[in-house]
Amino acid sequence: MEKITVEHLNTYFGDAHILKDINFKVAENTVTALIGPSGCGKSTFLRSINRMNDLIPAFKCDGTLLLDDEDVYAPEMDVVDLRRKVGMVFQKPNPFPKSIFENVAYGLRIHGEEDEDFIKQRVEESLKSAAIWDEVKDKLDKSAMGLSGGQQQRLCIARTIANNPEVILMDEPCSALDPISTLKIEDLIHELKKGYTIIIVTHNMQQASRVSDYTSFFLNGEIIESGRTEQIFVSPKEQKTEEYITGRFG
């Protein structure tokens, strides 16, 4: 039932101790929101799950991070396969300067898929799941850069879905979007929950309370409180959580 289990995770950038003794569990097909002030380590934590932090040379970590029962940081872990299983959507919509079709097909192609019919079908399915098919079906060969910010972000979600992942990590996916696009993405998250496990970092309290089932509050590299979202937002147990979500925290 537990999709991700984290025990005593510590991470470092050079000498800086970023995440301190993180313990964290995510159930399958749920949405978990990570909240906390800037620099509290929530993005670092998110990027630890699909090992995006490996791109930073000074990154080190210890502790265990299990996806299902596999240790993500085990030496025999195939990072390429891990990132296929744990997709990521970034803060700024980042479609490649390619056609809409090629953007979604990218993941399939890099993983060696050559059957064009299959790719075509998968691209269509992914665009439909990301609720953007109707808007782009007539211009699949046009560049993705011509889409609006909200469409670009949904395209990026489609691109991630095309890889058929098990977990989707979202790093402030709406921070660059207008309110309407934001709501569309949030609706999409609700839909995607049925098939995927989602972890979302957000600075928007209302967004966290709207989209997530569980919420974890990070502060200075530690998890202060985790729990069901209603409980965190209506009657938090910890004083620090209360201060942060009510805005009494500077």
Binding site: F90, G107, I110, S143
Partner: protein
Amino acid sequence: MNFNFISAKISQKIMNSIFLLSGIITLTILVIILAYILIKGLPVINLEFIFGQVENQGASGGIFPIIVSSLYVTLLSVLISTPLGVGAAIYMVEYANDGKLTRIIRFGAEILASIPSIVYGLFGLSFFVIFLNLGWSIFSASLVLAIMGIPTIFQVSEVSIRSVPSIYVEGSYGLGATKWQTIYKVVLPAALSGIVTGIILGMTRAISEAAAVMYAVGSSITMPISILDPGRPLPLHLYILATEGISLPNAFGTAAVLVIIVLIITFLTNYFTERYQNKMMGK
């Protein structure tokens, strides 16, 4: 410094005019040079001049073998220098950590770019022509020009690859792409227009070089067929026509052809990269 004696509004106006003036002067110089060469050269140019064989050491006849040598040398040198320059740029951005080695490589490229071309020519003569025994040939000249072109292509490509937004790279890694897939499928296409600019700069430098090739290419006025045949590119022909007083009008004709070729290369590549860029960026 204190410019209080002039009001801000007036000083702004003065500076505006100064900048406008420098712009106009630059443009004027370009127009004058182009016009001068074209006015002097164009009357000489006709089909016979372009497609004819060289006669009387260039005093009469055409310059067809010269044009062919020029294109031959230039294309060959670009073929050699592009993979090396772009490859080095990729290494610098994607593989090397910022450290001593990258600083040395960058410094080396700057030195290489600032060596006078006649020195390259001398090196080409002693190393390629004599030591490697390649003889006076298109190939020797291309190698010399390639070495000259590498720093330009390298420097421009590095800047252009470095300016590819890191969010593209992250997005690609995030989908499980390997480093090479990311470079090949995302970084290079996104940096393409910059890289092409570097190649054009290298190419225009190669096509307009006389000093570097004069010791390496020989001075044959016959049509070069194989890469080991000697040749005589346009700038060298121009140099010989002018310095040996063979035919000043033909020298201007050759110059005009050279300028037109350079202009065509620049316009065409600009047009195509812009079109590609616009298509990719969805404009």
